[in-house]
């Protein structure tokens, strides 16, 4: 943060590195709980979950079969 110390004619600035500055209060998510979502967003996330599970299983199957082929060509 740069802080103006003195007005004209000789303005001076203090510049402080973020790591050495006073900590500032951030936005906290701790008390908010999970995000409130509309039904369509919830549905889209369930669809995404399904897509990821199916793709994960497909990848696992593919990798295992390739690994077996690698061990026993």
């Amino acid at each position: 943060m740069a802080v103006l110390l003195k007005t004209n004619p000789d303005e001076l600035y203090y510049v402080v590195h973020p790591l050495f500055d006073e900590p500032e209060e951030k936005i906290s998510a701790d008390d908010l709980g999970t995000m409130k979502m509309s039904k369509s967003v919830k549905l889209a996330l369930y669809a995404l979950r399904g897509y990821l599970i199916i793709m994960g299983l497909l990848v696992s199957y593919h990798v295992v079969s390739l690994a077996i082929h690698h061990v026993m060509p």
Binding site: V3, L12, V16, V59
Partner: protein, 444 residues
């Protein structure tokens, strides 16, 4: 920059003690420059580290196969990388927390654990490719991998475990600056500026047309340029550096400069691959194109050992940069979700779990590479698929978080134009990642 007029200091010169470790300057311009230099880091590191060993391989191969005809893609990807990373900057500065913590807190345990496990898997697989590159380059330079790989692993652990964020950042920035050598190499290897500039601003079909192979490489370039670990890394890095609300514009500039650098270095890598193609590199039977072959060929075909050694060392530099950033993103994410102390500012004694995860990732990946006949090709294919599957979902969460007014308020949420740009990027990435995953899964 937050300017606070403080009458207490008026007409008192600088006799009043400044805030701890602050600097006093006389002009507004100098103060802004100094502030930018203090903030710069996370953006440049995440972007340049994105050009890791796998990226060097992908970009040089793109140059070898398609010359300079894919340069337009790099220009197209520049705003994409910037807009995606700018969102994590805003989220990190607003909340002071990492991406994994945000997903866990706002989307619940299932998505939190899923994102963490997915990130750890893809990060570990990517780390293995970094050490595989170190092993390959060591072999090309006549150093036994059994010495080079453990040495690099120990160096990577040592540089992060100093208990100082700044020490790690300065060492990493030095590694980023080394990438400038790519530009120095590209000048003698290239064919002047006219060709590359024309191919950058006038999109052309790749040499041989849009074949299946060309599409695969284009998707690989997109996947290399925007990777899931980058989102987690930069947000955690911004939080660890304790960037303030007033630093947002400087961190945006840092990210923008980083996104330009990463694309410029990538273009230089493509020029090196193009030079190998134009000078008629012939690949040994049963071997694919890789940066070590390219370096050896260019070194013995008119460009001398300096170019050869520079390319080999730059590949190691890329692998080290990628390895430190990826391992840190894993360690930060794990620490955030588990609630462990997780900061480079803490000593090993104060954050044992965080450093243990970092060291474990590095040690396991290095160890795996040293196992004789380890299935490295299988790992490289798995990296592409898992990253391809994970990236769009990670960006969807980012997009939802950046529209979370309850959390961020009006100040930090996406503007309508942000959303338009980001949804276009998400749809594009989703389509490409689906095609990539299908191509890899269906190939025999």
């Amino acid at each position: 920059m937050n300017l606070i007029k403080n009458d207490n200091f008026a007409n008192k010169g600088i006799s009043t003690p400044p805030p701890p470790k602050g600097r006093v300057v006389r002009s507004r311009w100098t103060s802004r420059l100094l502030l930018f230099l203090m903030v710069v880091g996370p953006g440049v590191i995440v972007m340049v580290a994105d050009n890791d060993a796998g990226a060097v391989s992908t970009y040089t191969q793109a140059g070898y196969q398609y010359g300079t005809t894919l340069f337009w893609l790099m220009l197209l990807l520049l705003p994409c990388t910037y807009f995606v990373q700018e969102m994590v900057v805003r989220l990190g500065i607003a909340t002071g927390e990492g991406h994994a913590a945000m997903i866990y807190k706002r989307f619940g345990k299932w998505w939190g654990v899923f994102s963490l496990v997915d990130l750890q898997v893809v990060n570990f697989l990517t780390l293995v490719t970094e050490f595989a590159a170190i092993s390959m380059v060591a072999t090309a330079m006549g150093v036994p991998p059994l010495i080079a790989v453990p040495f690099m692993a120990l160096a990577l652990i040592a540089v992060a475990c100093t208990g100082s964020y700044l020490r790690w950042e300065r060492a990493t920035i030095a590694l980023c600056i080394l990438n400038v050598v790519w530009l120095l190499i590209a000048i003698p290897l290239g064919r002047g500026a006219q060709h590359p500039v024309r191919n950058m601003f006038l999109p052309t079909a790749p040499l041989g047309g849009f074949t299946g192979d060309a599409m695969f490489l284009i998707i690989a370039i997109v996947g290399t340029t925007i990777a899931p670990w980058q989102l987690f890394f930069q947000q955690s890095c911004v939080a660890d550096k304790r960037l303030r609300f007033s630093d947002l514009k400087w961190e945006r500039l840092d990210t923008f400069i980083g996104s330009i650098l990463t694309q410029v270095f990538a273009v230089a890598m493509m020029i090196a691959g193009d030079a190998a193609r134009r000078h008629g590199i012939s690949l040994p039977a049963g071997k694919d194109f890789d940066p070590t072959l390219m370096a050896t060929f260019l070194g013995t075909h008119g460009f001398g050992p300096v170019v050869r050694n520079c390319i080999l060392l730059l590949t190691v530099d890329a692998a080290i940069l990628g390895a430190t950033a990826i391992s840190l993103s894993s360690a930060w994410a794990y620490g955030e979700v588990k609630g462990w102390p997780h900061s480079l500012e803490l000593s090993v004694r104060k954050a044992p779990g965080f450093y243990a995860i970092y060291a474990l990732c590095v040690a396991m990946a290095a160890g795996l590479v040293l196992i004789p006949k380890a299935p490295l090709e299988l790992i490289i294919i798995s990296v592409q698929v898992v990253a391809g599957i994970m990236l769009p979902s990670a960006i969807i969460f980012l997009q939802l978080l950046l529209n979370d007014k309850e959390l961020l308020g009006e100040r930090f949420v996406n503007k309508p134009w942000n959303n338009w740009v980001n949804w276009i990027i998400i749809i594009l990435l989703f389509s490409l990642s689906f095609i990539l995953a299908a191509q890899v899964l269906l190939q025999r």
